[in-house]
Symmetry: C2
Subunit: 148 residues, 2 copies
DNA sequence: AGCTTATGGTCAAGTAGCTTGACTATCTCT
DNA sequence: AGAGATAGTCAAGCTACTTGACCATAAGCT
């Protein structure tokens, strides 16, 4: 294996991840959800199904809790999430999705399925499955944020 | 294929790309190159082997030419690149790597090979090859910058 | 119980990397 | 030669993040 092949793999990964994220985002916008960024989608993934605290979100997204708090502010302002008192800890607040948040999540999943479907036409269903399986094995708990 | 599988694939891609980028960056720093960001590495990829103009770089990185120009400023200030008059166009300037730039590139390739080597222990050499081949087929000219 | 330390969250201020807008110099096309 | 396109820079502004300080509550220790 040449060193340059490793760089090519890295570039291909970034290109694939970036392209897919972009397509999903476009699909979400096309379904009528404006003002949402891809990061919000990954926040939703952590909020579902039972909500999460700001600190949970911060860990999941790989940012400071202040940044996560600002992101929640934005989601609340746009009507996608709510802050509720935490049932077991008076310091914490449980962030839960509203119905609008769920609708946005469903839109993102549909858009993602559409984008991945285009890949299946190139690689075949099995190829996509193999790709996902391989990625899950090498990046089990990697950072969700690419964040250069 | 479930919709949620498509989201899992996206998350795995981001995690893999982010993790790999991060490891390479750490490897480059460990080899004594400070003050470089991953974006610089992808700039180097375009500068090699014959240099490039600021506009070329901007297209390659998916940013405005002002942003690319700032990035070149930084590379020049740190001694990794130089601006030369363009041999065929008096408006343009050819940005070329210095010897330090080449050394940094070699360090990045070594770090990348190391990081990918860890993957080969999980997937096997063939698995990594298959992964790269699949990614190259679905993301031929995707954006290098994930840039949410 | 009471004290100490750790944890969840917010407020405030600062920053890095990007953007848009305006401008000059040079090239290209007719 | 003139008109428009293109390479590059300067300047200003924005956005998503950061660090640092702070308060309220929880958990652990004696």
């Amino acid at each position: 294996m040449q060193n340059s092949d490793a760089m090519a793999l890295t570039a291909a990964l970034l290109a694939a991840a970036g392209g897919l994220t972009q397509r999903i985002h476009e699909g979400v916008v096309a379904r009528g959800f404006e003002g949402v960024r891809p990061a919000h989608g990954f926040a939703f993934a952590r909020l579902a199904p039972d909500g999460a605290t700001v600190t949970d979100l911060a860990v999941h997204l790989g940012v400071t809790k202040q940044a996560a708090s600002q992101l929640v502010d934005e989601l609340v302002r746009k009507g996608y999430a709510e802050r509720r008192p935490h049932p077991a800890d008076a310091r914490a607040r449980l962030v839960v999705m509203t119905e609008a948040g769920w609708a946005c999540t469903r839109a993102a999943e549909a858009a993602a399925a559409e984008a991945v479907g285009a890949w299946a036409e190139v690689l075949g269903e099995d190829g996509v499955r193999a790709l996902r399986a391989g990625l899950l094995r090498v990046a089990p708990g990697g950072p969700i944020r690419p964040s250069w």
